[in-house]
């Protein structure tokens, strides 16, 4: 049936943006690719529940997002049972190439809580309306709006602070080192 072919093409066409969303959520390319793979398999299995003519992209984003959070809950349970080595591994940021301008932005984005990060990505980058984003995240439109505005404020804060001075442990450790040398 040609419908399956269309469906497959639709999925394939959505892969780049699904991947971008997955990387934004997982902060790790390998995990993101696993998420996309899982999303495609799930979407394929339940393609009957997709209503042709409705927003395929939003439907796929919803599946991916659910998959991300269920994996995260699973991992959290695993971490509680272990020494935290999984957490340490997960927090490693992928070393992507790209402009240094974006490196700071990427770091800032990674500092946001998940709910704010996904909201600002869906609205500001993936091209969804507030209504669509609310549906994808299973929350109220007002919640999305406030998450986006908090995310934006936080990013602005992080990026401007970062631009003015080299913050972080360096300033303090320099002082400590200096005083240690003096003493």
């Amino acid at each position: 049936m040609p419908a399956t072919e269309n469906f497959r093409d639709g999925l394939l066409a959505a892969v780049p943006t699904l991947r971008a969303f997955a990387v934004s959520l997982a902060k790790n390319t390998d995990r993101a690719d696993d998420l996309v793979q899982e999303t495609l398999v799930k979407a394929w299995d339940k393609q009957d529940s997709f209503q042709p003519g409705t927003n395929l992209k939003a439907w796929l984003f919803t599946i991916l997002r659910n998959e991300f959070y269920s994996q995260m809950r699973k991992r959290r349970r695993e971490v509680e049972d272990s020494d935290g080595s999984i957490t340490a591994r997960l927090s490693v940021h992928p070393s992507q190439d790209g402009s240094s301008d974006l490196t700071d932005f990427r770091k800032a984005l990674a500092l946001l809580p998940e709910d704010q990060r996904e909201a600002i990505i869906l609205i500001g980058a993936s091209g969804f309306s507030y209504e669509e984003a609310a549906e994808i995240c299973g929350c109220a439109v007002g919640t999305i709006k406030s998450r986006v505005s908090r995310a934006r404020a936080r990013l602005q804060e992080i990026l401007s602070v970062d631009g003015q001075s080299d913050f972080g442990p360096d300033a303090i450790s320099t002082q400590v080192t200096n005083s240690a040398l003096v003493a």
């Binding site: 399956t4 393609q47 500001g124 934006r152």
Partner: protein
Amino acid sequence: MTKMYRNTGRDDAGEKTGMIYQKIEKERNPGRNSNSDPLGPNSEIGRKLRQYYDELVSEEIPPRFNQLLKELERKEKPGTAQED
């Protein structure tokens, strides 16, 4: 309202195509839905956000996804016995 499509004396069909194109373009331009949008073109954060995302979108897609979909299609969906 910005006018993205200018009627240059084309026929109705052309105008319709232009309108559809305009709609598609609007959908393709995230964060540019309204002038008051805090993540719109005048926002530094909004601009970086799109730059960051566009870079990810334009990355080469690992071949595994295409292979996976072909495989899924070949296997056929379980439970679709209704074919006439």
